[in-house]
């Protein structure tokens, strides 16, 4: 494909007077894995639904596969795969029937669907469950089935809204592996998440959304380099400590200090040295831990809040 996979300019979504997406700009190239990272209510799902042509935009420009969702919704949807935030499988039917029915929505010949369904169940490791009803499957299996279903039309673009939320670490790693393979096979991935490790694992490039707006854009590494020091010292305060006073004292140790409910983050380029200084100063801490800076820190510094709240 020539030109971008998706292009948005001043893209806006309003629900009545409420602004869910406030004039955002982004551009996603073919073959990229692109992420929307943000806390609850940031506007990630609203954005994904506009891209997936199930929600008309309230303003701005949007092109998906070079087409305008307003005019070419069905044609775009025919070429896009969608993994929604909430599973919407036919739970009273079998795994196999779910794929057959979904394939028919795309008007694929049954024969073709059978071939693809067999391959896709293999791909998401559900072949042995093909005759089982969906209802009793685990959350991770349902998610994998939803991914298989989203691929039944061989999409050029796959939209994944929080693909691994609520799954255990093992199930998440399996999903990440499958998504990584898809990316390698040339499918453009667009995903939302509020897990920074997921964004770091999967995304070539991402935007951080907060309050309906994009607050930063770049590769995971670039975002960290641009916004945060290399390392972070996490100081867990003693239970009886006065947080405000302790934060004031810690300020002199790092380039920047952020106070959270139960701990204080000291941003520094040399974590071990700073941790040493904190310790030798006789600082009253329950624990001191050094780690590399992450996207979580980028978010905290840009918005003053953590991703989880």
């Amino acid at each position: 494909m020539n030109g971008p996979m998706i292009e948005a300019r001043a893209l806006t979504k309003r629900f009545g007077p409420f602004v869910a997406v406030d004039g955002i700009d982004f551009r996603i190239e073919p073959g990229e894995a692109f992420g929307f990272l943000g806390p609850n209510g940031a506007g990630k799902t609203s954005t994904m639904r506009m891209i997936g042509c199930v929600s008309p935009r309230s303003g701005g420009v949007l092109r998906v596969l070079g087409l305008d969702p307003t005019d070419d919704g069905p044609e775009i949807r025919a070429r896009v795969g969608v993994v929604p935030q909430e599973d919407n499988l036919d739970t009273e039917l079998t795994v196999w029937d779910n794929l057959m029915i979904y394939g028919r929505y795309f008007d694929l010949p049954r024969r073709e669907i059978r071939e693809r369904a067999t391959e896709l169940l293999e791909f998401v490791q559900l072949s042995d469950r093909r005759s089982s009803r969906v209802d009793p499957l685990s959350g991770g299996m349902k998610r994998r089935l939803t991914i298989a279903r989203s691929l039944i039309n061989r999409p050029e673009l796959l939209l994944l809204d929080e693909p691994t939320t609520g799954l255990d670490p093992q199930a998440r790693h399996l999903l990440w592996d499958r998504l990584y393979r898809l990316k390698r096979s040339g499918v453009t991935l667009v995903l939302t998440t509020h897990y920074m490790d997921e964004a770091e694992q999967l995304c070539d490039r991402l935007v951080i959304m907060d309050n309906a707006q994009i607050v930063a854009e770049g590769s995971p590494r670039q975002l960290i380099v641009d916004n945060v020091t290399r390392e972070v010292v996490e100081v867990r305060l003693a239970i009886d400590a006065d947080p405000a006073a302790e934060v004031a004292k810690l300020k002199r140790f790092g380039d920047r200090v952020e106070a959270l409910a139960d701990r204080v983050l000291v941003y520094t380029d040399d974590g071990d040295a700073t941790a040493g200084e904190v310790a030798s100063d006789g600082f009253d801490a329950a624990s001191v831990l050094v780690r590399r800076a992450s996207l979580e820190d980028v978010f905290l510094i840009l918005t003053g809040r953590t991703l989880e709240d």
Binding site: R77, A78, P84, N88, L89, M100, I101, Y105
Partner: protein, 257 residues
């Protein structure tokens, strides 16, 4: 060769039905048999003994088409409530459909079409049982299945339009009790509307079920007035039209907001 989106929605519903039909088949045949035995033969026997014919028909012949079409309405009405809200809110499969090339309006249309078809399956079973009991004097009776389908769609379209916009199922039992049940009882199903108090009689004309029952009765008895048939069909088509106008919009509002 491409299949219209509407029919692809019907395919899905038909597959679900095919997977579950064994559980449904029993009630499909047993319910009409019970109704006809109790109303047609039991009650009908008494009616015949006391007052002879009803509208010039044996009571069994009178009540059979009424029950046939009214059952179709009942089925269509309940299928248009819980499963619709389920598709939008509980199970959410409707959201899965509109993420494909199929649009919300087509989903609505396919759903109504399927409900009509499914009601016709039930009506065909009913007709068969009624015919075996000798309650279908005319060969035109086969058209009663169409009357049932039309009547089912006339209820399905507006009720589905309503259901999709609901946030809970609280109103559904009320609709069944205060809407569907009174219509079931007073739309010329069990007795001619001429038996209604004169003040209420004109209201029967407002009941889509009455039009459906009259059509069904015209078919099974073979006695009909062409002009009346045209009016009945027109009223039912109008109900479908109004329901579809609201339904297409309501589906878009709920599923593609």
């Amino acid at each position: 060769m491409s299949t219209p989106p509407l029919l692809r929605v019907v395919e899905r519903e038909a597959l679900v039905y095919a997977r579950l039909w064994r559980g449904l088949a029993f009630s499909t045949f047993v319910q009409p048999a019970l109704y006809l035995a109790a109303m047609g033969i039991g009650l009908g026997g008494m009616v015949s003994a006391h007052s002879g014919r009803v509208d010039g028909l044996a009571y069994l012949d009178f009540v059979a088409p009424g029950l046939l079409v009214a059952s179709a309405m009942q089925l269509a009405a309940s299928e248009s409530m819980w499963p619709v809200l389920g598709g939008a809110k509980w199970m959410r499969q409707f959201h899965g459909v509109v993420a494909t090339p199929i649009g919300p309006g087509e989903l609505f249309g396919g759903f109504v079409l399927w409900t009509a078809l499914r009601s016709m399956l039930g009506a065909a079973a009913f007709l068969l049982v009624a015919a075996l009991l000798g309650a279908v004097p005319s060969a035109w009776g086969i058209l009663a299945v169409l009357a049932a389908g039309l009547c089912a769609a006339a209820f399905c379209a507006p009720i589905t339009a309503f259901s999709i916009s609901q946030d809970s199922d609280l109103s559904f039992p009320l609709i069944m009790r205060l809407g569907v049940l009174p219509l079931f009882l007073f739309s010329g199903t069990f007795f001619p509307v001429s038996q209604l108090p004169s003040g209420l009689r004109p209201f029967a004309v407002l009941s889509p079920l009455w039009h459906g029952v009259e059509l069904g009765r015209a078919a099974t008895t073979g006695r009909f007035d062409f002009a009346a048939v045209v009016v009945h069909v027109a009223v039912l088509v109008a109900c479908i039209g109004v329901g579809a106008t609201f339904g297409v919009r309501a589906f878009a509002r709920r599923l593609s907001a």
